[in-house]
């Protein structure tokens, strides 16, 4: 019974911007789905507002809409495209919620669109806590005792039965947003109240606490013939109480007997049937009482999820791809297993290895945020590793995180006894593994660790085996080959061994190579070697036999970008994937190395070979050696390694790899250094005659003050050795400088701070360009909407630049060429400029793929990363123009006047974080990047494009209602015009006294509200919380979390009210609102936009 013939056209909904709890995994699943559906000959229409995704590349769908995923826009697309069916189970909670809204609004029925994968009833049964609970009971399972609440009174009544601590879970949210564990009434009101708001159905569940129980997850698939298979079991090392996205997890389950596993499997299968997920995947979470084995069903997701992406990478079974096929009518037995090619997909993968996943957090970005891990997900990314044993997988995953500290034994222990470490371990926190290991090493018993943490004794014993290894390594007179092999078999890096033995990493590596202690590469094959694998998906292990096949091709290694983090997200994975595609098209064999399970790059379909490995010098060198050996045996050649596309992660490895004799293609490590080192880069700029803001390096407050005085306030200060804007602030006065130096722990004689002149009110410009040694190609010139000083990743921008003139663009063109040739770029270059008083200052240059590459590619209809990869391998820009990979003539700095305007807007995760006292964290933007993702709005004019970007990021901009205005003195003049316009459009204006005075004097009626700090209760905060304010314009008063602004912005985040924090943003926002009021916002596919460029013509 092959595919349904009645389906010709499917609409796929993506997941929108990267958020905490909903990240790159949905690009992986959506990309797979689009690919499959197209390959099956269906017309595919896609909507996703996230430009950094592979799925929104125009070739993955017939019509790609980079439009907001709101019911209004999806309806417009349905009206225009008239699809037969809607597939909403691959785009996370966003897609599922959009589908539910469309159903409720009657849109699906009106246009005859069938929901495939899971129907409305199944989604409701799976997601509605009460219905789900009933189903669990019907099939003979148990749920935790619970009460559904819709009001605060119900919360208080409910807790009387259940007692504290009690778990709060809002319905219909992702990543546990708005949930938590309440230990008392104050907690309950705070978490429960937030949860009621976060839930689209104003519903939360209060649940008996099963904290400390073992936690498991099963990934299932079902086809229309009711065949059900379990793809993967996942066990959480962190017991119940920590969100599974924030837990260290292991696949397959390690501590279940067959009886318990089968009992869980039986329940899971009964549940998927009863819920009625017709076709596709779902995951179900369980808790198991460690004392008696009582199984409690926690929840299910009737869709593809983060866990299913992990399960796909962990097993080699591509859940999303199969789900898409099942949705159009195939059955599991009709779909071949990609990896064996001969056996069908109707089976359950068997693993002969262990997979470990560790979350990555970015707490350092949110000062004051509580680091305790709870049922609300807080991690921003994850690393996965595969090993032949648990400790090997765990240690590989730990070093894949690229954090300090993330590996055992590298850093000196913090002060304290075993008891101190145990006390610390009692509360789940970021990298608790390090605390637990330390406790054991200091003499805590495994029983004590179990009592403190609830981590299963088997896992504790595994950690203990590492502690014992540490003692052996430390005490052994010599590092003999047996000990070395043992340490490597247990997953230790050379660096760890070196740290314990007092050697250098290089010495350990040399000793290892001399004695032949080298890793072998095994294959992920879904079947534990029962059948031959056709797909080279490898992982390293210190075992006996390698499975890397000889190759006669010319090949390239592409280093990916590791776990997602704030500052390094899927934009870099996008570039790596594009390089892989382009180089494959050019006849190379592509070899991907990465450790991020969420991404498209780690899909075994993306590159010719995949190594799921940590991105450290040691691990990469071994892959290089394995691939060189494969080339030697087969008569091929390893041409080189690409480090420019995966962000800072591979770039940091470049010099050392080159020093070890590894060929680096593209921009040389020396050239990279030239751009990154301030002094050297200053020389490049001087030689090219380009101005840069004055700066100096200070090692003390006095030096800093001196520099600030000589370059003039305001200044931008930052620790010199920290990347990604960390610890960077704008300082306006001596007082603030004192404050910065006192607060910063990052300054000292060995850790100087950079003090740059800050160009206030400058226009910041971001440029992506290509350079081949002779020619340059301006890929895109983006004008930031916020002023300079806000991290480019957090700033909205427009392409083409909306206010720059031809002369400005010409200067940008010349300057970019000067930098590209001065640095010696081969491939991509990103430059940030600031334009102030008609002077174009160079802020910084990065000779690598930037965060904006995918946005530029989509905005200009040119595959920039693909072209870059080819240039790195020696093809000239002229040749690429000839080939059609670049336009025949012209470039992104010279777009036609009627080119569409694209606006990128950043999406911020403030709603996720609370201080330990339960307050929100401040939402002011600054030089340190805080956004997790981005959206794109594209239209013919700026206003509508901006409005779309806002709708995509925050939900629709309001077209009427109340606007609250409170701005710093320096912004009062600038904000006047936009506020007047809002008043003309019929908005009621509220303002604080000072702002109101200025407005009134200029003819804008404004109602005065008090300052929150006056404490009279007549201020705007309660109004915001009560939902009486529709739009907020609030610019920070200088820098720092001043009380009023802080409270206002926090309330805005809590209520989801658009809150604009810059004057420039306010102006853009007004243009957007005008466009909405005019009501002429339509939808247009990327393919239609791209056709208007006429790039193909000379």
């Amino acid at each position: 019974m092959p595919k349904r013939e009645d389906l010709k056209h499917v609409l796929v909904i993506g997941s929108g911007p990267i958020l905490i709890g909903q990240a790159a995994e949905f690009d992986y699943s959506g990309t797979q789905a689009c690919r499959v559906l197209k390959a099956e000959g269906l017309r595919v229409t896609l909507i996703n507002s996230n430009p950094a995704t592979i799925m929104t590349d125009p070739e993955f769908a017939d019509a790609t809409y980079l439009e907001p995923i709101t019911p209004e826009f999806v309806t417009k697309i349905i009206e225009k495209e008239r699809p037969d069916a809607l597939l909403a189970t691959l785009g996370g909670q966003t897609a599922l919620n959009a589908a539910m809204s469309l159903h409720e609004a009657g849109v699906l029925e009106q246009y005859g669109v069938e929901l495939i994968g899971a129907d409305v009833d199944a989604i409701r049964r799976g997601e509605d806590r009460q219905e789900f609970k009933t189903i669990v009971e019907q099939v003979g399972g148990e749920s935790a005792r619970s009460v559904v609440c819709h009001t605060t009174d119900e919360l208080l009544a409910g807790v009387k039965d259940l007692g504290y601590p009690v778990v709060v879970r809002p319905s219909f949210t992702m990543g546990g947003s708005g949930g938590g564990i309440a230990h008392n009434e104050a907690d309950l009101l705070r978490i429960g109240g937030g949860g009621l708001h976060a839930s689209v159905t104003t519903e939360v569940l209060l649940e008996e606490s099963i904290l400390g129980w073992k936690e498991y997850e099963l990934e299932l698939m079902r086809d229309k013939n009711d065949n059900v298979v379990v793809i993967c079991s996942i066990e959480n090392l962190d017991p119940m109480g920590v969100h599974t996205g924030d837990s260290v997890t292991v696949a397959p389950a390690m501590t279940l007997t067959d009886r318990e596993y089968q009992a869980m499997r039986d329940l899971a299968i009964a549940i998927i049937r009863a819920v009625g997920v017709d076709t596709g995947g779902c995951n179900i979470q369980f808790a198991v009482n460690p004392d008696d084995g009582r199984i409690v069903v926690i929840e299910m997701n009737p869709r593809v999820s983060r866990s299913s992406a992990l399960a796909s990478k962990a097993t080699g079974f591509p859940i999303a791809k199969i789900a898409a096929r099942l949705a159009i009518g195939y059955t599991l037995d009709e779909i071949p297993n990609d990896i064996t090619r001969e056996t069908p997909s109707a089976f359950e993968p068997s693993l002969d290895y262990v997979v470990g996943k560790i979350p990555r957090f970015s707490f350092e970005k949110f000062p004051g945020a509580d680091r305790e891990l709870t049922t609300t997900m807080k991690s921003v990314g994850e690393a996965m590793a595969i090993g032949r044993s648990f400790v090997e997988a765990l240690q590989k995953a730990m070093r894949s995180l690229e954090q300090t500290p993330s590996q055992f034994w590298l850093e000196p222990d913090p002060a304290g006894t075993a008891q101190d470490a145990l006390d610390l371990a009692r509360t789940p926190h970021d990298m608790r593994l390090l605390t637990v290991e330390r406790a054991l090493r200091l003499g805590a018993t495994p029983e004590q660790v179990y009592d403190a943490t609830g981590i299963d004794p088997w896992f504790v014993d595994q950690l203990l085996s590492l502690v014992e290894l540490h003692a052996k390594l430390k005490d052994a007179p010599d590092l003999d080959v047996d000990l070395l092999r043992l340490a490597k078999r247990m997953g230790c890096s050379d660096k760890q061994i070196a740290a314990v033995r007092g050697l250098t990493e290089q010495q350990v590596r040399a000793a290892r190579h001399e004695t032949g202690v080298r890793p072998v590469y095994k294959t992920v094959d879904t079947c534990a070697a029962e059948f031959a694998a056709e797909t080279p998906y490898h992982y390293s292990s210190y075992d006996e036999e390698t499975e890397v096949q000889p190759s006669d091709k010319r090949k390239l290694l592409i280093l990916g970008s590791g776990p997602n983090r704030i500052g390094q997200g899927i934009e870099f994975d996008y570039a790596c994937v594009h390089a892989s595609f382009a180089l494959s098209d050019a006849g190379f064999e592509t070899v991907m190395v990465n450790c991020n399970p969420e991404t498209v790059s780690t899909d075994y379909d993306t590159s010719d070979r995949l190594y799921f490995e940590p991105l450290t010098v040691e691990d990469v060198l071994e892959v290089v050696a394995a691939e060189q050996e494969s080339a030697r045996q087969g008569g091929g050649e390893l041409v080189g390694v690409i480090v420019q596309l995966g962000g800072q992660t591979p770039l940091r490895l470049a010099q050392e790899l080159k020093d070890c004799g590894v060929p680096i293609v593209g921009t040389s490590p020396e050239a990279i250094h030239l751009a990154e080192e301030r002094g050297a880069f200053g020389d490049v700029l001087a030689a090219a005659g380009l101005p840069a803001p004055k700066y100096g390096m200070a090692r003390s407050y006095d030096e800093a003050k001196q520099i600030a005085e000589s370059v003039g306030y305001p200044v931008l200060v930052r620790p010199s050795y920290v990347l990604g804007g960390r610890g960077m602030e704008i300082v306006y006065s001596d007082d603030m400088l004192v404050d910065y130096v006192q607060r910063s722990t990052l300054i000292g004689p060995d850790a100087p701070v950079l003090v740059d002149r800050f160009l206030e009110d400058a226009v910041e410009i971001d440029v992506d360009a290509l350079y081949d040694g002779t020619d340059r190609y301006l890929a895109g010139v983006m004008e930031h909407i916020e002023e300079a000083g806000i991290h480019s990743g957090d700033s909205a921008c427009a392409l083409p630049p909306v206010t720059l003139g031809r002369a400005d663009l010409e200067r940008i063109r010349t300057s970019t060429l000067g930098i590209a040739s001065g640095v010696g770029v081969r491939g991509l270059l990103n430059v940030q400029y600031a334009l102030k008083d008609d002077v174009l200052y160079v802020l910084e240059a990065n000779p690598r793929a930037s965060r904006t590459v995918p946005f530029v590619s989509k905005a200009t209809a040119v595959q920039v990363a693909k072209a870059a990869a080819r240039i790195m391998l020696g093809t000239s820009i002229a040749d690429l123009r000839g080939e059609g990979l670049l336009p025949k003539s012209g470039d992104g700095g010279d777009l036609p006047y009627d080119a569409p305007i694209s606006v990128k807007e950043a999406v911020l995760p403030f709603g996720r974080f609370r201080t330990a006292a339960g307050e929100g964290v401040d939402t002011v933007l600054g030089p340190e990047m805080k956004s997790t993702g981005e959206v794109m709005g594209i239209d013919r004019v700026f206003g509508t494009a901006y409005a779309k970007s806002q709708a995509a990021a925050y939900g629709e901009l309001p077209t009427k209602g109340r606007v609250f205005v409170s701005v710093a003195n320096r912004d009062k003049r600038a904000v006047l015009f936009p506020v007047k316009r809002l008043a003309d459009l019929g908005f009621e204006v509220l303002a604080t006294e000072g702002t109101a005075d200025v407005l009134r004097r200029n003819g804008v009626e404004a109602t005065v509200v008090g300052k929150h700090s006056h404490g009279k209760g007549d201020d705007v905060v309660p109004m915001i919380l009560a939902g009486e304010v529709d739009l907020i314009l609030n610019t920070p008063f200088g820098v720092g979390a001043r009380k009023d602004g802080y409270e206002i912005r926090t309330a805005a985040v809590a209520r989801g009210v658009p809150c604009i924090t810059t004057v420039q943003g306010a102006a853009a926002c007004v243009q957007g609102i005008e466009a909405l009021v005019r009501g002429d916002i339509g939808v247009r596919s990327l393919q239609e936009h791209h056709a208007s460029f006429h790039w193909g013509e000379a």
Binding site: N225, L256, E348, P349, S389, D461, E530, E545
Partner: protein, 369 residues
């Protein structure tokens, strides 16, 4: 840390550490891909005279309990693992697997690259193997000859070595509805348990029981169990099966029992290159297209066409009812003109999925009719 050596008959060796008992052992090297259920596997009589290689790297994590064994002892002749647990963790665990293996004198080896060994067996087929440790370690060539001289699996009649000495009865759970005579060719405890849950009183009888003796119990049905060895050499049970078919008594067979039924019908059996051993095998019921994920443990299979055409036999037409989707091996037989059916896989699971437990109901329905 006692060194141990695994020696294959083709001369390939794997070094490791002794696990369980120290000594020497021989058998047929087979691999099992199940990720759970080592205790059930070890105690499954079908593994008699086999050295089992576990592809899952961590073994012994949940220790050994008193509820999960499938028979009164461990049957594997040797055990090969990569990473044995240092401590067990389960509220049901009573002792460690290491202790259990040692107590039962089972020679094992750990620290082996089990994936490399599995790939070798996949490519070259199941073969003779020896595991040596302690005083039994010797010159490799000598050990290889020892392995080569050990008895082969093909042609081995092993049912009588694992069967019960004397008959015993497993009472029905609740009201007794039927009496079944079960021929124990290496029966697992889970099988009579499932039948008992259907109201069946199970009389488990030694492998040497004849057809007349079976029928003398006047059973409502006869069951042919799983078991070790080469079905081509197991003539007694084949004769007994023919007697049951002649008498028209409903008959159900599992695994070895499927092969015995096949032979009784005049079909041949053959040895698979490396067999099916695991808990993830997709079996399709040809009539409905439904796929069940099933537990397997067989090195031999019935030779019959899998295109769905019925075959004429002295007992009427038989059809292949189930096939393994991985390799199209016969996984079930169904007599169209008589009350008899059998499957090559394990609906009783233990270990493995419970997808096919409905077959026990099918058997009782057949007895009802």
């Amino acid at each position: 840390m006692t060194p141990a050596l695994l020696v294959l008959e083709d001369g390939r060796t794997f070094r490791g550490t002794a696990y369980g008992a120290v000594g020497e052992t021989f058998g047929e090297a087979v691999f099992n891909t199940g990720m759970t259920g080592y205790q059930e596997t070890l105690t499954d009589p079908s593994y008699h005279r086999q050295v089992v290689v576990m592809t899952a790297p961590h073994i012994g994590n949940t220790g050994v309990n008193d509820e999960d064994p499938e028979s009164s002892r461990i049957w594997v002749s040797g055990y090969v693992v990569r990473d044995p647990a240092r401590i067990p963790s389960s509220w049901r665990s009573r002792r460690t697997l290491d202790e259990e293996l040692e107590a039962q004198g089972v020679v094992g080896i750990s620290g082996v690259d089990t994936r490399a060994l599995t790939r070798h067996l996949r490519e070259r087929g199941a073969m003779k193997v020896g595991v040596f440790s302690g005083d039994h370690l010797a010159d490799v060539d000598a050990l290889v000859s020892k392995v080569q001289d050990s008895p082969p699996m093909q042609g081995a009649d092993l049912a009588h070595e694992v069967t019960t000495d004397k008959p015993y009865v497993v009472p029905a759970v609740g009201e007794k509805r039927f009496t079944v005579a079960a021929l124990d060719l290496g029966i697992k405890a889970a099988t009579p348990r499932y039948m008992a849950q259907q109201g069946v009183e199970v009389h488990v009888l030694p492998a040497t029981t004849t057809g007349q003796e079976l029928l003398a119990l006047e059973p409502d049905g006869v069951f042919l169990s799983n078991g070790p060895g080469d079905p081509a050499t197991t003539d007694g049970p084949v004769e007994a099966t023919r007697a049951v078919l002649d008498a028209g008594v409903p008959l159900f067979g599992i695994c070895f029992g499927n092969q015995i039924l096949g032979r009784a019908l005049g079909l041949g059996t053959y040895k698979l290159r490396y067999g099916h051993r695991g808990v993830n095998q997709p079996v399709q019921e040809l009539r409905t297209g439904r796929v069940h994920v099933t537990s397997h443990n067989h090195g031999f299979a019935v030779d019959a066409p899998t295109d769905g055409t019925p075959i004429d036999t002295p007992y009427g037409r038989v059809e292949v009812s189930h096939v393994d989707l991985n390799d199209d091996v016969v996984e079930g037989l169904n007599l169209l003109d008589a009350k008899a059916f059998s499957v090559q896989y394990h609906p009783e699971a233990a270990p493995g999925p419970h997808d096919a437990t409905g077959l026990f109901q099918q058997f009782t329905k057949m007895m009802e009719a």
